[in-house]
Symmetry: C2
Subunit: 351 residues, 2 copies
């Protein structure tokens, strides 16, 4: 267990990641954007999308699978939409740009939708809708995941990813509501964690190829993640994938590249961000006050026995972010050790 003194300030993690990306060939501004967003992901507790991704991204860049100096540009444009070609650059750069454009267009049109093509993995889904919050706006995000773990309902061929949906809604005095969910009951990372601890999985996380519950995480390769609500989650994953991928001319279904197994083939990842300006529909301040009321109403509900607190979506991430910004982030020792080796290898001062 790392002690408090092992904790790493968020700014230090941000600078470390930035330095790594500069060494990998990204222009300093782009490296800083990636460093900032990946440190932000780590700080909010999205630990599958923070420091742990530095080495896989680097591996892809060094294998030639990702463009470090992309020409990210608008290729389609109408009043309330744009399509951004990411030129196979880091997804963080593509979706930061896409979201900025969506915010500007939503100020004019009330609502705007910007899609990406030739993008890449962009970290946790919540990062981009959250960008709308400081403008008093709502962000809604859809993405095609970068590995297929889900068959169509009743099927055996893994043709779908756990395509996530995220939504960020500003409040007045309360923390914002930030939903960020994959369309499967459990994420693959949770299965791996159960295997590492030698624990069984609950019924409902996975099924085997005959449709029976699969609870031994060591047998995960023999089965599939279960979509939320059964056929409903399959339908959601499909529809989200079409909105984020097919509409934009990005990969979907069997075209999806497994970015864990293949470092070279461009992923042609697609994402979509929709920004909604509550001020266009009424009084933006009054809207945020009503969101406060709803939050307090949910939190104030009578509780089931044993439930200590009712959480709002994103509230736990919000508290983690505040704590980590104050106290620093405790990275797992094994991750720290591998980052130290990596830093030495590419010639960056270690974390």
């Amino acid at each position: 267990m790392p002690t408090a003194s092992d904790k790493i300030p968020v700014a230090q993690l941000r600078e470390f990641i930035t330095a790594c990306f500069i060494k990998l060939g990204l222009p300093p501004d782009d490296a800083a954007t990636c460093g900032r967003l990946m440190a932000e992901a780590e700080a909010q507790g999205s630990d599958g999308h923070g420091a742990i991704r530095v080495i896989p991204y680097a591996r892809r860049i060094r294998a030639g699978g990702m463009n470090v100096t992309p020409n990210i540009r608008v290729v389609k444009d109408k009043a309330a939409m744009a399509l951004i070609d990411g030129d196979n650059g880091m997804g963080h750069l593509v979706m930061k740009r896409a979201t900025e454009i969506a915010i500007d267009k939503a100020k004019q049109c009330g609502v705007a939708w910007v899609g990406s093509v030739n993008s890449n993995h962009a970290g946790p889904a919540s990062l981009y809708p959250r960008m709308a919050l400081s403008h008093g706006m709502i962000g809604l995000y859809f993405a095609v995941g970068n590995a297929n773990h889900l068959p169509p309902w009743g099927g055996l061929d893994m043709l779908l990813s756990t395509n996530p949906i995220a939504c960020a809604i500003p409040a007045h005095e309360e923390p914002p509501i930030v939903l960020d969910m994959a369309t499967t009951v459990a994420a693959y990372g949770k299965v791996k964690a159960k295997a590492a601890r030698g624990e069984a999985m609950p019924v409902g996380w996975m099924i085997d190829r005959s449709g029976q519950p699969l609870t031994d995480p060591k047998r995960a390769g023999e089965g599939f993640l279960l979509p939320i609500g059964g056929y409903k989650g399959y339908g959601l994953a499909l529809v989200i994938g079409i909105l984020a991928g097919t509409v934009n001319g990005a990969a979907m279904g069997s075209e999806t590249i497994d970015f864990n197994a293949d470092d070279v083939t461009p992923t042609n990842t697609g994402q979509a961000i929709c920004v909604i300006d509550p001020d266009a529909f009424g009084d933006g301040h009054e809207f945020k006050r009503k969101v406060d009321e709803l939050i307090r109403e949910m939190r104030g509900s009578a509780r089931m026995p044993g439930v200590e607190r009712i959480w709002l979506p994103g509230e736990q991430s919000h508290e983690k972010r505040l704590r980590n910004e104050r106290e620093g982030i405790a990275l797992p020792p094994a991750l720290l050790a591998s980052l130290e080796v990596f830093a030495r290898e590419i010639g960056v001062a270690h974390l």
Copy 2:
């Protein structure tokens, strides 16, 4: 069991419902819109939203809880959005108008979003996004349900409805993809059907107030529907409700009126329709061809033992619609009998 000769042509059902609404005081054009959309709901198998709703809607109208001659009007307008005040009219009229405006704006702007306030229950969620299909466009729909059946995750107070999301995506040669789902594992109607047949519910549909599985449908009043994916479905229901309700100034959370229990208080229902023009993002025809490919890929997946066919979202409704348009609709005898009594009472020729 009704025989084939008992089947009612869709046109006959449409005309019957239209005649009822004219008798109830709606202008003939508005009555015809309600008749057409409710018959369409019945034809596609949304039998909880078709003929069965005639009497409850009539009860509400006669109690003064719904305005038969509403002044449905645009109260907010920007290039890519509008807010429609439904003036407490039938939700079908409000959302048909809202969707027409969204389609027109999406032709100009690429994407458009129209919300409703002072609306009412509008039938199955899929009706409105499906209107975009004949324009080669995608429809995405969110609504606040008209009765709260869902507590926040871990809570006991029913503060949320099973707020649905629906999405309709055009294909080229294949039937369109039409997702229409509530955010709970089972709909309340399914619970009632189990009770009527004296069957137990599967674990996962409902829990009791201590969080234990509830499988006796006669005890449904002692528990709650479970959201899909646990806390994920709670988050989805909350976020959908804010997008469809709070943004528009419509009811949400504890403000929701239970339209089964209260025929008088205006429901101030909120809905939102977003229309996306694939032609703005690329070649609309090529998009539909890619959707065909995806559909065939899903359908062609290897199958689990015992699975005869892999369905796409909306495919079963599509087949039902074709069959019912060809053969007519078999309404349950009890419903037919109650409609006959109702028809006599208001002076309409019975079905």
